[in-house]
């Protein structure tokens, strides 16, 4: 793999640079390290940094940009008629790529020489058959244009890779050489290295911002693309969710309201389970429990938070669902027809959220100063009266914040609803019916062999955007409430 070799080569040059830089600086000081401005290792390190950092930056940018340039120039060689024949650029391009990959395989297994692959033409051979003989299966016959484009694609990729290697190595050597030329006793190597390290630290910290930007752009562009194909008003106010599975042609109803309703209903049930249990557990553990009980019960409850959501999903699908059916199914009450239902998902999600609510509330209740409790006891209140009339009001903003954070968790939860809530989108009040949520539909619209240009696939990005805005809004609101209404005790 040439890329691996390139990286190893850069690292080797950097190492050589380190040794040379260190030695050169020591030599310029006549072998007396007291004359140097910095410790000798800094002279080596600055050379290594100059060798690696610019080259790595160029390498990454090159790897990201090259596919684009190659794709667009290959596409420009194709005649427009091909694209107009009822398919899109991306489909033609994937054909071209498949043929090129086939040729690559043929060359790498030695079944075809490099020259033969480059000079292959559709006039004297059936490319599909030739490649098929070599174990490369192609879906359809290869036209002359596609073969030509594939050959151009391969040629450009090869030159691109070669140019990249040359340019990156030149930059490595140039950087190392430049830094090496400066290694002498008076050079302030430590300051230079520390400036470089600080820049790297800042870059690492900025990655968080970059991730957010990445999320927003990934969602935004595809959402805009979706709204070009499907009217935004129908999406936000449509009460029917019925994507057509045939792909193009059939009209899909993509209204978000049934999904929003399912999401909120399931989250509501989850909170109805989690908030009372979590809150009372937190109150008992922080106000009544002996240190011994607390040291056992608190970690045990928090185990529930460490269990992966796929486990809860399976628990909902295979244990809780069938259990609820035996309790409310057609043999007894007849309320429930299948194991997957709002109740199933909500109940299990509630279990998942108990430790979330309890440990956040625990922290908040513990933050209420002891003096307030003592004052209340001094007035003759019982412990429960103190809790209800003094501690809970004081901790209320924090607890509301905790509940909002739990709600945002519930809304964004995926695996439990994918496995436990069912797939039918409907607006109904019956909690024993199957409903579906935003997250479950994102999964179902984006898995499988969907064509990314169709509204049925793009709708997932609009759903994702809605989800992102919703959870972000809840978080910001929760933090705002906590900050704004937090009593300051000192």
């Amino acid at each position: 793999m040439p890329l691996t070799w390139l990286i190893l080569l850069i690292l080797a040059i950097a190492f050589a640079g380190y040794v040379l830089g260190r030695r050169r600086a020591l030599n310029s000081a006549g072998g007396d390290r007291r004359v140097l401005h910095s410790l000798p290792s800094y002279y080596g390190a600055i050379v290594a940094m100059w060798a690696v950092v610019p080259a790595a930056g160029v390498l990454i940018i090159w790897l990201l940009v090259q596919p684009y340039i190659v794709n667009s120039s290959v596409l420009s060689t194709l005649p427009d008629t091909m694209v107009a024949e009822g398919s899109s650029f991306s489909l033609v391009m994937s054909d071209v790529r498949r043929v090129a990959d086939g040729l690559d395989v043929a060359v790498s297994t030695g079944a075809m020489s490099r020259e033969a692959a480059a000079s292959l033409s559709t006039e004297d051979t059936d490319v599909r058959e030739t490649l098929g003989d070599m174990g490369v299966a192609l879906g359809s016959a290869v036209s002359a244009e596609v073969l030509g484009a594939a050959q151009a694609y391969r040629a450009m990729n090869a030159t691109g890779a070669l140019m990249m290697a040359v340019v990156v190595l030149l930059i490595t050597l140039g950087g190392a050489g430049f830094a090496l030329s400066r290694s002498h006793a008076e050079f302030r190597a430590r300051n230079a290295v520390e400036r470089g390290v600080l820049a790297l630290l800042i870059a690492a910290a900025s990655l968080a911002v970059l991730t957010t930007i990445g999320i927003v752009f990934a969602l935004l562009f595809n959402t805009i693309e979706f709204f070009k194909l499907y009217p935004a008003a129908d999406f936000f106010f449509g009460t029917n969710w019925a994507p057509s599975f045939s792909g193009r042609g059939g009209a899909s109803d993509l209204g978000i309201l049934p999904l929003l309703w399912g999401t909120f209903y399931i989250s509501l049930i989850a909170l109805l389970v989690a908030v009372p249990i979590g809150l009372f557990a937190a109150i008992y553990l922080s106000e009544y429990a002996s240190p011994r009980l607390r040291s056992i019960a608190k970690p045990l409850i928090e185990i529930l938070a460490g269990i992966p959501t796929i486990v809860y999903g399976l628990f909902a699908l295979l244990t809780v669902g069938p259990l609820l059916v035996t309790m409310f199914g057609k043999d007894t009450l007849g309320w429930m027809s299948g194991g997957t239902a709002v109740m199933t998902a909500g109940l299990v999600m509630g279990i998942m959220l108990i430790p979330f609510v309890s440990s956040l509330s625990d922290d908040i209740i513990n933050a209420v100063p002891q003096a307030m409790r003592d004052g209340s006891y001094g007035l003759g209140a019982t412990q429960s009266e103190t809790i209800r009339h003094v501690i809970l009001p004081a901790a209320l903003p924090g607890i509301v914040g905790a509940i909002l954070l739990a709600a945002s968790r519930a809304i964004g939860e995926t695996m439990i609803v994918v496995l436990g809530a069912g797939a039918a989108a409907r607006l109904s009040l019956n909690p024993f019916e199957a409903m579906t949520t935003i997250t479950a539909k994102i999964v179902s619209q984006l898995t499988g062999d969907a064509d990314f240009a169709s509204p049925e696939a793009l709708v997932a990005f609009a759903l994702g955007m809605t989800l992102f805005v919703l959870t972000l809004g809840l978080n910001v609101f929760a933090l705002y409430i906590v900050r704004k209404y937090r009593e300051q005790y000192d």
Partner: protein, 441 residues
Amino acid sequence: MTDASLSPAAAPRAGLIATDARTRKRNAAEKRFRAYGICAIGVGLLFLVFLFTSILRSGLPAFTQTVIDIEFTVTQEQFDTAEGKMLKTKEYEKLFIAALEGQLQERGLEVAFDGKAIQRLVGKPGGTIRSYLQANPDRLGAPISFELAAASRVDGYLNGRITRDSLVDSRFLQASDLDLIDALQQADIIKGAFNWNFITGTDSGVDNPGGAGLGASVIGSFFMMLVVLFLSLPIGVAASIYLEEFAPKNRWTDLIEVNISNLAAVPSIVFGILGLAVFIQFAGLPQSAPLVGGLVLTLMTLPTIIISTRASLAAVPPSIRDAALGVGASKMQSVFHHVLPLAMPGILTGTIIGLAQALGETAPLLLIGMVGFVAREYPEGFLSGFTDANSAMPAQIYTWASRADPGFYEKAWGGIIILLLFLITMNAIAVVLRRRFERRW
């Protein structure tokens, strides 16, 4: 001064020793409140117990497999005649059936069965026997013991999933076979064995739950965790060092801080969308590759690692920094030579917990194509382990859970036991690290 306290409406007091109705009411309320708390904790723990019993009860059968263990002798003569026939494996099957009948009669168990029944129970044993004899011709004439894996329905009958009442005759299993199974069980020929294939094997097709194994997806998860570890640890530590030790108070650092705390709360499925749009659509990385999964999980884990790393950096007392600066170290040297080593146990603990979280995360993997891919093969080498399509443990569990054959449910639960074992081990390591190396200043 008013004399409100002397108002005639005041309730008469019964005395200091006897409790009045109001006090009793208040005390009862106190007791009730306490009981609510105990109930809440009880319910929470009950859920935990319920969850774990149902995992263990449904998952443990995945680790055992029913085998038919039989010892019999094939003579050179029998071998030669069988090899001379047209249907060679059929002849071996006859030998097998004869041996089985012989051993049942020896123990005085009378049960009628035919070749079809044997096929329903163990598939076609003839092929296995023939290939063994061909590979080891020197064993001819001596007693050889064969262990043949029984069909998954036999498994189901023996561990109670299928009962005599619930069984519907089909080409997979018939009611008459159950007598044979009972007889074989009495004769100690049919028995449970540890299913190594479940741990080391690869995924099977949709119609063969018995042969499904988790091994390949464990390797997939391992490569993902390598990516997460080698990206998120250095980046997370670097970011935390900057924010905790160097960052000036300005707009940019505020923005970074807000971003980190918000990213920690973004639903994991959104990171999956990011991975799909940026790494697969935009950067053209291969679908279902552990590399892509690792990158997505890195972005997800970073906030966790940054938050815990900052806490452990902040726990190092300022006197350490001051002392380093006092003997002439630069700011950078004081951080890298003194503060960072002292914070390392805390950082590693946080990293392991972050990795454990990433290991169990499923939702983003669904979007980058790790589900639906059938992990039938181990990756060929170390580098292709990152880029070849593979599954991961939670994705494999999801795949099994969504298959139609209920035989896979058992495998899914079994997979969860293995996943939880990994998580428990990682968390235990984190706890030990914390106990052993944490310093209180």
